[in-house]
Amino acid sequence: MPKDNQDIKQIKELIEIMKENDLVEVNIEHGDNKLCLKRASAHAMTGMPFMGMPMPPQSINGSAQGVSDSASAADDGLIDIPSPIVGTFYEAPSPDSNHYVEIGTHVSPSSVVCIIEAMKVMNEIKAEVSGTIARILVSNGQAVEFGQPLFKVKPN
């Protein structure tokens, strides 16, 4: 069904990308052209749609949100800023101060985006990416775990 060898080559390339990134499914549509690739899940964590499988452990904020390896592009082209430590998230240096960032704030890799308090120490968290804050995923005073996405950034 692939039109030509060009397609096969592209599929192979896509599979490599899937493997590297632990993707289990890719769907691509260009007008009438559609491509869907699914891999057998490596193991439980890749989330086969299987009712009997163990649920992913409850994360500390109670959401099912996964933990991304690092700032990485997701479906929507946005990049996560993950928490590098366990602690309590604060959006401002003190209750009276302005928030470090709001939706629409432009950040550079060295911009401080929030504070995470761990063992009474206030840790300034840097963006590590360039772009515009698109979404704030946690709320002030919330506990966050290692790797938990804090912000979504639209890269420029």
């Binding site: 649920m55 994360s59 063992m119 290692f146």
Partner: protein, 445 residues
């Protein structure tokens, strides 16, 4: 009683603690590295916190992250399991400073017993037999030679901070003592950042016998009899059993009472193991005390019917030990085999990887402690011990037969495990007769 405990460990011992908490109605917080996030035992905790990447230094050994996880989840106490931070005095101190209960002994008792020279002094105060040797550290080779002459060769040089066979040298004469002294010091300095050594009479072909004790904060202490852990490969225990097959009841009681005297001397609370060498004439010598629950604690649980982790939790919650020594009966024989992801046919090289086939043994007299399941992945980042099989039977002969049939049933693949090595040991004439010492494995296999 405690209401919410953070489990600062991973794998089978994390699951072990979670199970005990659940049975006592205590909520649990399980911390985990990213490499462990798929393990189903995490589902059994009330809450989980990812504390860092696979690397232990950034996760299970990272004190700030673990304390922070306890703070954000409002855990009142931390159970450290074994390994990782279980005997880290700094960690216990930080827990205390942060108002978090460390489930284990006091910092002071840890300090006393973790220093081998101090522990030895405490044993002598408590009239617990110790191996003849230096009263304190050996600060020069001349001092060592002089003492060796006094107590007689063979002798052993040991690092104060040592463990796992590192920083140790046996000497049978002056020349080998000179070399061994220097080598042990250098090795200890490199391995532990502390080159201090001491010297002892070297007990030839000893058995490793250890007493399980438990003390509360109200002055009660009880023992759960002894374990024989003489089956060691390069100082790593492989098979443990309770009771020690060569100990008569009179010596057993004396040995266990000696362990209790040391524990009382150290004003200890929680679980501890007091280790002895047992020579061929059934003389026992205190060597060290471990201030944690140990891997092999289940054999003591099987022969006494007492859940030691539950006792740790109850004691940490302030409860007194409300059973007497007479209530703790030694019933039958228990044996544990450690199943490691290692290839016995390739010098016990670690064998991490996915587990595509998994069938644990079961039935009468068989207990399995493991976090494994079909589809699990064994990470190269952590200890290779992946499961423990424990059997309990009225007699040692029956216990060996049950262990043999259990190991035959246990299917783990395609990774290699130490199951075949354990089977070989269990089949060995000398093991069956109980006529072994700590050198048995290294000499025989």
């Amino acid at each position: 009683m405690l209401s919410r405990v953070l489990v600062a460990n991973r794998g089978e011992i994390a699951l072990r603690v979670i199970r005990a908490c659940r049975e006592l109605g205590i909520e649990t917080v399980a911390v985990h590295s990213k490499a462990d996030s798929a393990f189903p035992y995490l589902d059994l905790a009330d809450e989980t916190v990812c504390i860092g990447p696979a690397d232990c230094a950034q996760s299970y050994l990272n004190i700030p992250r673990i304390i922070s996880a306890a703070e954000v989840t409002d855990a009142e106490a931390i159970h450290p399991g074994y390994g990782f931070l279980a005997e880290n005095i700094e960690f216990a101190q930080i827990c205390r400073d942060c108002g978090i209960l460390f489930i284990g002994p006091s910092v002071e008792a840890m300090q006393l017993l973790s220093d081998k020279v101090e522990a030895r002094k405490a044993a002598m105060r408590a009239k617990v037999p110790v191996v003849p040797g230096s009263e304190g550290t050996m600060d020069s080779v001349e001092e060592a030679l002089k003492l060796a002459e006094k107590i007689g060769y063979p002798v052993i040089v040991k690092a104060v901070a040592g463990g796992g066979g590192r920083g140790m040298r046996v000497a049978h004469n002056d020349i080998s003592l000179r070399n061994g002294y220097t080598a042990a010091k250098a090795e200890a300095q490199a391995a532990f950042g502390n080159g201090t050594v001491y010297l002892e009479k070297f007990i030839e072909e000893p058995r490793h016998v250890e007493v399980q004790v438990m003390a509360d904060n109200h002055g009660h202490a009880v023992h759960f009899y002894e374990r024989d852990c003489s089956v060691q490969r390069r100082h790593q225990k492989m098979i443990e059993e309770s009771p020690c097959p060569v100990l008569d009841q009179e010596t057993r009681i004396k040995l266990c009472d000696a362990a209790l005297r040391l524990i009382r001397e150290a004003k200890y609370s929680s679980a501890a193991t007091v280790e002895f060498l047992l020579d061929k004439n059934k003389n026992y010598y205190f060597i060290e005390a471990n201030t944690r629950i140990q891997v092999e604690h289940p054999v003591s649980e099987m022969v006494t019917g007492q859940d030691l982790i539950k006792w740790q939790l109850k004691i940490a919650g302030g409860q007194a030990i409300d059973i007497t020594q007479d209530d703790i009966k030694l019933n039958g024989v228990a044996i544990e085999c450690r199943i490691n992801a290692e290839d016995p046919s390739n010098n016990f090289a670690p064998c991490p990887g996915p587990i595509d086939q998994y069938m644990p043994p079961g039935g009468f007299g068989v207990r399995v402690d493991t976090h494994l399941h079909q589809g699990a992945k064994i990470s190269p980042h952590y200890d290779s011990m992946i499961a423990k099989v424990i059997v309990h039977q009225p007699t040692r002969k029956e216990a060996i037969a049950t262990m043999q049939r259990a190991l035959r049933e246990f299917k783990i693949g395609p990774i290699k495990t130490t199951i075949p090595a354990c089977q070989d040991i269990l089949s060995h004439n000398l093991f069956v007769k109980g006529e072994i010492d700590t050198g048995f494995i290294d000499r025989t296999f």
